[in-house]
Symmetry: C2
Subunit: 422 residues, 2 copies
């Protein structure tokens, strides 16, 4: 097996052009992308992607949920392919990089291998997972969850969007309902390049995040019942103010998360006061809350600390606080060997990096439960994502694609290379 | 001038029956009343009230905003009348006592004088002020504010309800648009009996509240701008969480009010997060806030303390907090002499009482700026008002009506009494 030169690079201009070429499909006036899964623009980008993969010598097939697989042959086709890629759908007012970078960097890695005349031992498969965003059909990361066995295809095919259109019907409409059973195609590993969607790499001036974990998540729905009373006539000591109690809960969630730092986060993002009025002490309200941590044991501690805080607040303020845990997703631990391969490729290429935990969910987090998986992060401007302002530099995208290329080559094994581009 | 016996009492059963008879006009299934100002049910109760006043020997007239005046003659008709009463409109899901008690107790006081053959020196006038509640037309306490010169009649007549119906049109529809110019009729004093709409009298087992002040009010509209970011990927130290900042503002308002106790109150009753989502750190939100105090100097301190707290919170949390004062109403100081008369009548009747500040606004608060005025409070169950559950005991309502009767007699002067009912 030949060793690959560390100075082998992807074609930065070609990657950048591909990102901007596909950004036309669903382009928004503010420079973002609106490409809802399985819609007309998604068909456009899928057709573009299929043509590009076929032009790069890959064989493209589609599974029953529309996930696209583009296989570049290896020397030993009895070996399971190395899967790389991400998703091409976007948020309703999304950016040009979320998902797109990982999918087109995978294409670019294949193109770069072609240019360098590289044959790999194992085949390589570029994946475009259907409906990662979840903004048209629930749940998010739909196809990778079904691939991992969390849902049946029948269940997912019957899910409806806000207009009552099913996934099955949407797939048929754009011609992307394949025959291949979901989960039938096996891989030896999955590696996903993605923008960080957070501020850490930028803040620490790192180019690459070697993702070793995905946060576990607990979601809660809560209610607080105090007593609605006249804001003018109810003395402060006699109040049972649901909003004041809620304010303590918000600050408790924040404090508890900070006390379990630096990786834990806790957020209350929603609150609705029933029949709210400026001159009525809030009687009843609803809220949501969440904690995330890369450690299951920490998740337990966050949960217990919140229960204790809430019991104290409810008792002191004579209000009733109900907190229902509606979802718990255990932390993702990416495969140490694949993570090590990513880290090795990053070091070999000389990029400043840090190990990092993914705060957001990704297809790789679902797939990690059924195969060795890992992720590569690159910085995005101000940590902003799910927003038309989402931005990343060409240099950072190129670096991420180079790490993906070298990780893939290391995992697939290089049989022969005609040339390197130095 | 003859002195009135302290054992002269109103007819408790007749008062109680009147309250329950009028509660039929707009009765709700849960035992409350829905009698929006100038609607069909308001016409029904107005017609009932006019007939009852005329049957009691009063001459009824109506001003240009529909306020009803029922005059019982005094010996000296050159003297200005003593005005007593309240309002007969209710909240959309209101109770049987708010406003009604004060109006019908005034009627009962006249009836009791008639029974006792009492002639007073000055005339007495029962008032039914139009649109105290403000739930159909803004502002609340509309007619008394216009009487006090805060608004012109033309302005008020053009105000529209949610269906676009003007006050003028609504008055015409029910036939209660009188010819008398608003504010033309002068009184020597105004005394209003009302349920407390707060919990103090009940908590302290007092039967009568001798109201000496009405709270001043400051209303604010506020916004907080932080930065909306991903709840999973944004580390706690890098957040600019508008909801966490807001929670500190809520608790600051509460603490500031408590620090200026026992009379000051502070309330935040409304908050709306822009584009809220359970997994997004709140970026922007709107809220309202208010302070009330019976002392103008305290209002200034509350305002200054909130400004300081907000500056501190905004600085520490790197958010922008805008707080706009949209209304300031100075405290009402009821006329010491009239308040003394109420207190004297209460003592004479032997009722447990306390001096009290009105936390709610009342027609008497508006009228206090143009004539000597005072109020009498009686307890209501659990302090609940503006609610179908609003309740008060027959004994307390009777006590309040007796204080109103004796206050009125003391102010009007008793010329002769044929009998007393003991």
């Amino acid at each position: 097996m030949a060793s690959t030169k560390s100075n082998l690079q992807i074609d930065s201009t070609r990657l950048w052009n591909a990102i901007h070429e596909t950004a036309k499909f669903g382009a928004t006036p503010k420079g973002g992308v609106r490409r809802l899964t399985l819609g007309a623009e998604d068909k456009q980008v899928r057709d573009w992607f299929r043509d590009a993969c076929e032009a790069a010598g890959c064989e493209v097939s589609v599974d029953a949920l529309g996930t696209m697989f583009a296989v570049r042959r290896g020397r030993d086709m009895s070996k399971l392919p190395i899967a790389i890629g991400s998703h091409l759908d976007t948020q309703p007012t999304g950016g040009k990089f979320d998902g797109v970078l990982g999918t087109l960097a995978a294409l670019e890695a294949i193109r770069a291998m072609n240019d360098a005349g590289i044959e790999t031992e194992a085949p390589i498969c570029i994946c475009n997972w259907t409906n990662e965003e979840g903004s048209r059909f629930a749940p998010a990361m739909m196809a990778s969850a079904a691939y991992a066995g969390d849902y049946t295809s029948e269940d997912i095919l019957s899910r409806k969007d806000a207009d009552g259109v099913t996934v099955a019907s949407a797939l048929d409409t754009i011609g992307y309902r394949g025959a291949e059973p979901v989960g039938a195609r096996k891989f030896s590993a999955f590696v996903e390049l993605h923008i960080e969607q957070g501020p850490l790499l930028e803040a620490e001036e790192k180019i690459i995040g070697v993702v070793e974990r995905g946060q576990g998540i607990i979601w809660y729905n809560g209610t607080i019942s105090g007593f609605a009373s006249h804001a003018g006539t109810t003395p402060m000591p006699l109040r049972r103010d649901a909003l004041a109690a809620f304010s303590e809960v918000v600050l408790a969630v924040e404090t508890i998360a900070k006390n379990h730092g630096p990786h834990a986060v806790g957020t209350i993002g929603e609150v609705t006061i029933d029949n709210s009025s400026r001159n009525v002490v809030a009687g009843d309200l609803k809220f949501s809350a969440e904690f995330r941590s890369p450690e299951a044991a920490t998740m337990d501690k966050l949960h217990a600390a919140l229960q204790a805080a809430i019991a104290d607040i409810a008792s002191r303020r004579k209000v009733t606080i109900n907190l229902e845990q509606i979802w718990r997703k255990e932390p993702t631990v990416f495969d140490p060997q694949i993570v090590g391969t990513v880290e090795g490729a990053t070091k070999q290429l000389g990029y400043a990096y840090r190990r990092i935990t993914s705060g957001a969910g990704h297809d790789a987090c679902n797939l990690a439960s059924v195969m060795p998986a890992a992720m590569i992060f690159v910085p995005c401007k101000d940590g902003v994502s799910h927003n038309e302002l989402e931005d990343a530099t060409q240099a950072d995208c190129t670096a991420g694609a180079n790490v993906l290329l070298h990780t893939t080559l290391a995992l697939a094994g290089v049989v022969s290379a005609l040339k390197t581009n130095s």
